[in-house]
Amino acid sequence: MNDASVTIVQNTEHSPTFRELSFTWDASLGRPRAGQFLELRLPGTTAPLLRRPFAFSAYDEENQTASFVYEVRGTTTQLLSTMEPGMPLQILGPLGNMFHAKTKGVIAVGGGIGLGPILYAAHQLSPHHDLTLVTGYRSQESIPYSLYTPSCPPSICTDDGSAGVKGNVVEYLESLPQERFRDTTILACGPHPMLAALASFSNAVGCTCLVSMEEMMACGIGACMGCVIDRTDGTKARVCKEGPIFNSGEVVWT
């Protein structure tokens, strides 16, 4: 875990919804793993005040760069989208735990801005696992085709059917044969309702499901107790420290 000033290398629009930011990442800062995140801050202002968490979408060891995928939603991402290569960013990371799979099969499911860490996980696991990448979008125009790599071809779902399969990612999984979930782990990142649906789906088909949870964070390092979720054993867990990756069975879905 490190607190570093890094430099923007690229700030690319891949679709009207998705942008990707690449920045210098010195090896000494620690190797970021799929599922881990960083806490980003724009220098020079106190508004936005809090750092914002973004999950790594890639790490290029050779060129010493790392990336995340983002969507412009509010104050930080709005300002971020105007920033140019060469400008500095404050980054704290890598933070949190990571995706992993002990099974032969892996189904990596990304919805919305959950795309980044899922791409990274798919990229890392595809050589060693029987991997299916499933990504869901509202409609065709938001799809960031240029973020995909030939080594991990995606199944694409759109709500309106304008590209790929019509329907959401859960409906897509339901359409797969039951055998596909044998000796398989589902890895998922996306909106809360999607994760909740995947939790009950995986429960039904009897496979492990790891979800990346999202909560408002102040510190990102486990100190403020701001980002907790309820666990089925009655305790609370910090998304930034015990997570962000949880077994879907240990999360209380509300």
Partner: protein, 302 residues
């Protein structure tokens, strides 16, 4: 040059502490700074029994500030003793100051009685002012008579430094400080958070599950400095100032306003190394302005 600060019968090695609730029990910050370089760590609030705290969302950002409604989530006194004190005992020069939070007067007294045997604990910060606990400390913190009375009872229980932490949500904070002084407090610390609310207009409901939360961060700094200035002119015991401190210059504002020590709170979340750097900045300032003790800061502004 002497950075030490006398509080009651003890000294802090530097005026720079880290504020309760923003630094856990220290562990999380070890990668970023040498904890033993700090003057004091004020722990997350400790209650008699463990508390889960409020439902999420517990946090929301505001312009140059944040609201929190953690709800005093903490491990409870027993786990603090068995799990946290051994870790904190490894610190040699940094004072460890538990932040004491009760739901009733009796709970405050029980807590201090229970913790007093532990030599590792330097003193107490008595949180009479958390705005997030229902039926909680708010009543104590805003009524001078009650503040004086509870302070006196706590005073009888311990010889260690007793710091009363004050709420800014009052008409006259100096008068509450005087009540704490009259009750035998060794210092007062201020400010705790201000009651605030953010409404999610899309969902048509308060953003925090607890509806209101406590406002902290740079946004409140001018309020903290003003209250420190007023309070330092009203009591003879040391004042420990906080609210929105982000750098040595902010800390120096508090010292010039009359604070004898300061605490870094919300900014620990933003730049976790900051608290470790402020003492150096204060030293540089003292050198430049030919000040030799912290008390010298108090003669600059009338």
């Amino acid at each position: 040059m002497d950075l030490r600060v006398r509080i009651g019968n003890k000294h802090l090695q530097t005026p720079v502490g880290v504020a309760s609730g923003t630094f856990g029990y220290g562990e999380e910050y070890e990668p970023f700074l040498d904890l033993d370089s700090l003057g004091a760590i004020y722990t997350k609030a400790i209650s008699l029994l463990p508390r889960q705290g409020n439902p999420t969302p517990r946090i929301v950002e505001t312009p140059s500030g944040m609201l929190n409604a953690i709800g005093l989530a903490n491990v409870g006194a027993d786990a603090f003793i068995t799990e946290k004190i051994p870790y904190l005992a490894r610190l040699s020069s940094c004072a460890v100051i538990p932040n004491i939070s009760g739901k009733t007067e009796q709970e405050y007294l029980d807590l201090v009685e229970k913790l007093d045997p532990y030599d590792t604990l330097w003193g107490y910060e008595i949180n009479l002012s958390c705005p997030n606990v229902k039926k909680g400390a708010l009543a104590f913190g805003t009524d001078p008579a009650q503040v004086e009375s509870i302070t006196r009872k706590l005073r009888d229980l311990t010889e260690k430094p007793l710091i009363i932490k004050l709420s800014p949500n009052v008409t006259d904070i100096a008068c509450i400080a005087q009540a704490a002084e009259a009750g035998g407090a060794d210092a007062v610390s201020l400010i705790n958070t201000l009651v605030g609310m953010v409404i999610d207009t899309r969902a048509k409901k308060p953003f925090l599950a607890n509806k209101t939360g406590g406002l902290s961060g740079p946004a409140v700094r001018p309020i903290g400095v003003a209250m420190t200035y007023k309070t330092a002119r009203s009591v003879d015991i040391p004042v420990i100032g906080m609210g929105g401190i982000t750098c040595a210059d902010d800390a120096i504002q508090y010292l010039l306003a009359g604070a004898s020590a300061i605490q870094v709170g919300t900014w620990n979340f933003i730049e976790p190394a900051t608290a470790g750097e402020i003492a150096t900045g204060i030293q540089a300032y003292m050198k430049e302005h030919a000040l030799s003790t912290i008390a010298d800061f108090h003669n600059c502004i009338d």
